[in-house]
């Protein structure tokens, strides 16, 4: 979860960790997100609560920005655990680690573990993302 596109996917190894990335989900982003997903639950109305999938999406964005993915990359699987509610004031830190790299014929299967913690160092979200990438 580092600067843009600085890690080529061919160089990813199991156990490799990305530098942590801090981010915040402000109320304007939450508003855009709720509009995009057509979510109108009262839970999010004026409460400052961030939808957990918005946190997940922004954590994944940092990961995707860090890896140079080739065209044809497919997001094939996803696991999430939401451990605590996130608010717009929270300062979050995302960490990602490659947990598995497999080569099957002309495809790479890469699994990345993601963890997001708040400013109190409490885990708020954990996840496991699976990608299939074509071998170039």
């Amino acid at each position: 979860m580092a600067a843009d596109k600085d890690i080529a996917y061919q160089n990813l190894k199991a156990g490799q960790e990305f530098p942590p990335a801090a981010f915040q989900v402000d109320s304007a982003t939450v508003s855009d997100y709720l509009k995009a997903v057509e979510e109108n639950s009262v839970i999010y109305r004026g409460t400052g609560i961030v939808p957990p999938m918005a946190v997940a999406a922004l954590a994944l964005k940092a990961l995707i920005n860090a890896i140079s993915m080739p065209p044809g990359t497919i997001h094939v699987s996803q696991e999430f655990e939401f451990m605590a509610t996130v608010n717009t004031q929270d300062i979050l830190t995302g960490r990602a680690r490659v947990s598995r790299v497999q080569e099957r014929g002309k495809l790479h299967l890469i699994t990345v573990d993601i963890n997001v913690a708040n400013q109190k160092q409490e885990s708020v979200l954990a996840g496991k993302t699976g990608f299939i990438l074509p071998v170039e």
Binding site: T29, D32, Y33, K35, A36, V37, E38, E39, S41, V42, I43, I49, P51, P52, M53, A54, A56, A57, L58, L60, K61, I64, N65, P71, G72, I74, H75, V76, S77, Q78, E79, F80, E81, F82, M83, A84, T85
Partner: protein
């Protein structure tokens, strides 16, 4: 507020139906920062094996999360778990139905552990996402 329904095995969760439109895909790209051209650039996407733009997988997961929030409220936001596989892309013009049902209810230390099957399918009944979701609910909680 969570939708009131019985926590019993076989019980259906409140269904969510969404029309996939390019405007929402573009809005989602802005909100999530994922501007992969396969989602937002029609000319680029037309030349790929997918033949056109597709919605972000995470956008469809947001719909599953919406269903789970409708069903379980704050319990989903703090204690929910989701495990899914993406089976097929969702395209602009598709109508995606998000459904789920309770597979198992286990009592554990004053809580109900609810294990649900979740499914997103398109207007042709093709599965787009399949998987399961788990949520922990206080046994005496008033959910309606």
């Amino acid at each position: 507020m969570p939708t009131s329904f019985e926590l019993k095995e076989g019980q259906s969760l409140p269904t969510v139906e969404k029309n996939i439109v390019q405007d929402n895909i573009n809005l989602y790209a802005k909100a999530s920062g994922d501007f992969n051209p396969i989602h937002v650039d029609a000319d680029y996407a037309r030349k790929t094996p997918l033949g056109g733009t597709v919605a972000h997988g995470m956008l469809i997961l947001a719909y599953i999360s919406q269903m789970m929030t409708d069903a379980f409220g704050h319990n989903w936001l703090s204690g929910g778990r989701l495990n899914v596989r993406f089976r097929a892309p969702a395209r602009s013009g598709d109508v995606i139905t998000i459904s789920g049902s309770i597979r198992r209810v286990e009592k554990e230390d004053g809580y109900h552990m609810i294990d649900c099957d979740v499914l997103c399918h398109n207007q042709n009944d093709e599965p787009v996402i399949t998987g399961d979701a788990k949520v922990k609910v206080k046994a005496n909680e008033n959910r309606g």
